[in-house]
């Protein structure tokens, strides 16, 4: 990632909801979303909620391994969410189809492992609509 040190502060802070609909490995969209989120925080804006949907739920996989010279996008999201105490939701119906499960879902579906970073919660689309209603801006990626 390039330095964001010279990013200007926003004159008026806005609330943003980001809808991430792309897998981390298949297109640039997830990387763009990550950098956009970093820039928003750097500029002093507020992120109301990250919502991972469709193939975007793979951004919450803690089982992703990348070659050493490539960025691990799920790990970078996890670090950003933890460092800034962000609200992050992974859509349940998208997630369980793709093997993204937390402890509760693993138990519910009798699976032997979990794969979702604990920094994101598994939830429903209502949380997207709710977050959007409380935001000045909603942007979708992918």
């Amino acid at each position: 990632m390039t330095s964001l040190d010279d990013t200007p502060r926003a004159a008026h802070a806005l609330r943003y909801t980001l809808l991430i609909n792309a897998a981390p490995q298949s297109s640039q969209a997830a990387k763009t979303a990550l950098r956009f989120a970093e820039s928003l925080l750097q500029m002093g804006h507020h992120i109301e909620r990250l919502f991972f949907y469709g193939d975007g739920v793979l951004n919450a996989s803690r089982l992703t391994v990348m070659p050493q010279d490539e960025i691990n996008i799920p790990a970078a999201w996890h670090a950003l969410i933890e460092a800034n105490d962000l609200a992050s939701v992974v859509c349940v119906s998208s997630a369980i189809r793709r093997g993204i499960v937390d402890a509760a879902e693993a138990q519910r579906h009798e699976l032997s492992a979990t794969s979702c970073y604990t920094s994101s919660e598994i939830g429903g689309l209502g949380q997207l609509i709710e977050a959007m209603s409380n935001s000045d801006r909603m942007l979708s990626f992918g």
Partner: protein, 125 residues
């Protein structure tokens, strides 16, 4: 909720993918249902290949998929009645209104642009 926001936040949800071959169509529909449950004013807009989602009598069983049109027929029960179809997209694909699974409003390009411009939020997957 923040009271400084306008009460009538209109969401425009744009369907522009064909019903099968990818999951964009279903993802878009699921967002429509979620928004409807929250009783948000919404416009469900079909453009480009998205108009194929509306065709009546779909039978995708042979490609191991669930029919998309069947779910669209239930939209009215959810109070989703603002369904807009871009007229040129429909006609340029050899379709007309009589072949669709639900009642829609045909809309011209200029009105479509205005509808989107006046929306508080736009979701375009």
């Amino acid at each position: 909720m923040d009271n400084s926001k306008p009460n009538k936040q209109t969401i425009s949800i744009i369907a522009r993918r064909a019903p099968y071959g990818g999951d964009g169509a279903r993802q878009t529909l699921d967002i429509v249902f979620a928004a409807a449950v929250f009783e948000r004013p919404l416009n469900y807009i079909f453009i480009g290949d998205g108009v194929f989602q509306l065709v009546a009598g779909q039978n995708p069983k042979e490609i191991s998929s669930k029919p998309h049109g069947a779910a669209l027929e239930t939209l009215e029960l959810y109070g989703v009645d603002e369904i807009f179809v871009h007229r040129d997209s429909l006609h340029s694909r050899g379709l007309d209104e009589s072949q669709l699974a639900c009642r829609v409003n045909l809309i011209e390009e200029r009105a479509l642009k205005q509808l989107i411009a006046e929306s508080t939020y736009v979701i375009n997957l």
